[in-house]
Subunit: 650 residues, 2 copies
Amino acid sequence: MALALQAPQVPALLPVPSTVSWRDGRMPLDSTLTVAIVGHRDPRLERAVGRALRRLEARLVQPLPRAIGGEATAKLVVRVGNAGYAVPDLREDESYTLDVAGGRATLAATTVVGAIRGLETLLQLHEVRDGTHWLREATITDQPRFPWRGLLVDVGRHFHPPEVMRRILDGMASVKLNVLHWHLTEDQGFRVESRAFPKLHQLGSDGEFYTQDEIRALVAYAADRGIRVVPEFDMPGHTTAWFVGHPELASAPGPYAIERKWGVFKPTMDPTKESTWRLLDAFIGEMTTLFPDRSWHVGGDEVDPAQWNGSPTIQQWMAQRGLKDAHALQTAFNTRLFTLLAKHGRSPVGWDEILTPDLPREAVIQSWRGSNYLVDAAKQGRQAILSAPWYLDHIKTSGEMYLEDPLPAGHGLTPAQQALVLGGEACMWAEYVTAETVESRIFPRIGAIAERLWSPASVRDVPDLYRRLEVASRHMAEAGPTHEEHTARMVRRFASGEDAEFFTQLLDYARPRGFAGRGTNQLSPLTRVIDAARPDPWTEWRMVALAEAARSGDDEAGRMLMSQFGLMRAFPDMVRTMEGRHPLARDVIPVAGALGELGAIGEELLGHRMNGTSPSPARAAAIDSALTRLVGKTFGLLRPVGGEAVKRLR
Amino acid sequence: MALALQAPQVPALLPVPSTVSWRDGRMPLDSTLTVAIVGHRDPRLERAVGRALRRLEARLVQPLPRAIGGEATAKLVVRVGNAGYAVPDLREDESYTLDVAGGRATLAATTVVGAIRGLETLLQLHEVRDGTHWLREATITDQPRFPWRGLLVDVGRHFHPPEVMRRILDGMASVKLNVLHWHLTEDQGFRVESRAFPKLHQLGSDGEFYTQDEIRALVAYAADRGIRVVPEFDMPGHTTAWFVGHPELASAPGPYAIERKWGVFKPTMDPTKESTWRLLDAFIGEMTTLFPDRSWHVGGDEVDPAQWNGSPTIQQWMAQRGLKDAHALQTAFNTRLFTLLAKHGRSPVGWDEILTPDLPREAVIQSWRGSNYLVDAAKQGRQAILSAPWYLDHIKTSGEMYLEDPLPAGHGLTPAQQALVLGGEACMWAEYVTAETVESRIFPRIGAIAERLWSPASVRDVPDLYRRLEVASRHMAEAGPTHEEHTARMVRRFASGEDAEFFTQLLDYARPRGFAGRGTNQLSPLTRVIDAARPDPWTEWRMVALAEAARSGDDEAGRMLMSQFGLMRAFPDMVRTMEGRHPLARDVIPVAGALGELGAIGEELLGHRMNGTSPSPARAAAIDSALTRLVGKTFGLLRPVGGEAVKRLR
């Protein structure tokens, strides 16, 4: 049963635009729609308008025009000033205005990318009412709060093939994200074809790499959606896969093999050999033909000094130059690397470890160890982006991630320093995701982060976010990502019939534990119940909404909630029938127990509310103690859902 | 609610092997499995064993070995005689034996392809029982009944990108199909990159074509799965898209545009110009570098003589050569085309229209206008394959298609003539499928055809087919195809909340009408309820099984069936609440009415059965008349499901 709450009175826009004035009218949508591009016109804009019309057409199931005219009297007019940057750029003007009034829609933007952003908003104004398709009339002015709104996708640890990357880019565009940070090399894999040094991908990738044609096509696909592609070649650490084919790059003799475990490893590039620099020079030169963005991510995180400290020649080299420790050597490495990048027309981005006084002014610091590094960087006059709270593999809820802000209250930055905070990136690290599960870990939660980075800082209402995110999730899925099929698909693999029904039902009430704790490596199958679980099932916030309604005296909400608590209470019995029958019962026994307890407490508290009674003080204390033990805690590989609603009833 | 019937006592094998002897034992499966290849070993075999282990590993959620040894004492031993043909070949020996006994499994085959077939059977022996994973012990000997077991995929009318083609190939391999017949050119699209004549794909494809790299990769992907790729370049008709870039090939002056409508069109190649043959010579030469199979499909169907008859120069040319009509000219065209193919080392396959006395001996006739053309061809000493009853776009049920046979009872062929009947092909024509829906129209129904072409002719039990097909559908989905997600994904696009529940529920009881009758063209969105519908919902045969059980006195089955009839009876009321609310209600109003009537009759008849009573003669006659009007009939774009079960209760 869908616990549909009050139908929204206005279409769900996500991210929320800067200003919206709703009108009372609606513009009917059907195959008589006429479409025009006036002002600047180019193939990228035509493709973007065409894609939007195809999506709208699929909803209307009526053919819309293929011909896009130039008449300002068309029902849908797209008016653009200029092409914007030839390559998507940090400085792009992404603003637009959208005016739907009197049965006509006008989208106006300075640049093509602005129009691309506005087309997504236009698609969100579509609604079905009274048996008809409409665009809700409104006047919208919009521009992003931050210019860097990104997603890191780690393809080093697990490879995601081009079609998955295309779907990710489509989903990103649907929530107006504009940077794909492509983490292409890791200890566990080197994922780019190098024609200059083919042993890099041939020996470092298990055959799972992008050809240069595929990279060019993906970069073009991203550019068509106004998305920059920032490649990351993490160094000098996280480089084992480079050394399988080129052991001479390492600071200790080989041979090397692709790393299968997760963690921080010793293999590190040797910055003291000229041969290292000759290879990097040629390699960077080759890669700049594939990646046109000015930004180049150098990584720079988690350098284990063991190889440097253990090498007499490196120690001698350091001593000759007065470098007193590994940290100083990494700074020297970076300094030379940045010079090389400058030679190739690239400016560095790096993890917060690279922040040193002699960093180039145009560098960008990516804060991953904590938000304070972001503020520190800005205070030192450096550009910075936030990632620390947005590691998608930590499996926090959308609501939790939503309230994080690159400019948190009390940041103490001057306006000039604030301008150095460019935005942020969600990070999809791939220890525990495969090509099969990665979309489910990114979408729809990234919608919350996309809104934080685009919308005014004052937009912070979590229940309202969830109401809109459920609609936006379907829009993301329409654009490409398969996150809404993922649970059913995976459950179908490991169970059928009644067993499948049990797991499906339970996965509305359980979500994955966070990063780590699984004891798996790169070769482990990631096909357990935790992998089929959704990071943030809608059940949680729907139950919270029901609990709030029940507290306000809504008896129907109370009854619906009571039946959910009843189901939760039944899980322990249900799982007992699975034991001895299904091997994956072991994955859900602990969380089923927790759900049973939560369901019983929920029934008890809701019963009191509905009867106007209260638990005794002793019982109340016992309940509080149980809730502390249960809510948000991990049971095996899963965490129970529904506890937040129970807490609202205390 | 899943209406799970009796759990199968033995694993569901599909296609049924030639001989199976079940043992009582089971071989436990876990990460201690050791795997060896003994005898012939090559990379294709290693990749196939690796793929099977990865699929098994995903089910077990335990890592299985990456190292494949050579010890005959391993728990799973694959013993192969030789590599077989370098390019998958009609003459390939696909036989294998599989012996699972005493906790060890041995797969033996003459060729690598035989082992590939046996690995699919091995994966079907996996079962979950008593909380553990097992391989059921058995001795199996197996080989195909027919050597040509194919699927035609039309990418001319709608384009299916490479990732969809890969999933189709994976699904084909899982049911031991061995020919992809790739229908690459049509009036509506020319889908192959030609470097020799780039205007062909540049102007004839709307930008939707396969690059030569993509074709090479897909042909290699197919070969890895023991699947031949037979390209079809349909000519001299169905060629409008060629003429957009090369109007000089046509029999009437251009210009030409990509055809958007469906049907048979006038543009036809001009066989009287030497320039036509120079282009075809060079083009075929170029394509043979991409498609190594000896077979080359020339099409040859549905030639409209209008352009030939209307051209004075062509008429004069014909008169000079004594060709009395268009049919004679097509024969002359084919004769010269076959000579050209022979020069390039290719032998022709063609639609049954090409059957003429001077056809080369090695030619293969594909019967599409009726099974009689197949028998005729064999009687004339020609090789032939059956397609007439297996047009997947006609949306027949698996059970209907299953009982068709290339060698039907009473065929009257001599043993030598029978040997000319090579097998058959299912045909996935693409007027009414898109990349989004094509997998749902192919899978799982193609399993029934795959079994007809592989298994002994005596295997013809329809209820048993359905029991196994439901399991096999999950195996196909595991291998790649997304057919099991398709309905949910499409419903989610056009409906949410209670509306989505309504459509989802209804689509368990409704299936698409067959080919045609939609009035759409190439540019129409195919995103209506009919497109979200499954061609053969499990509901139909499950209800039939329940009806049979109820007739035999199974009261529990009767109660389950009664509740399904009750749901059917409620559909008209349910759809009435949708009218005026959802635009797609119009798609389901007619079928909801039919379902309501069927449900009411079902309740009445089942009530009589359970009470030991009968309808009056007058009422019985009225019911019979209603069933004639309702069962298997089309209501709008949909057909009701459940009627077969009602009929069993008469």
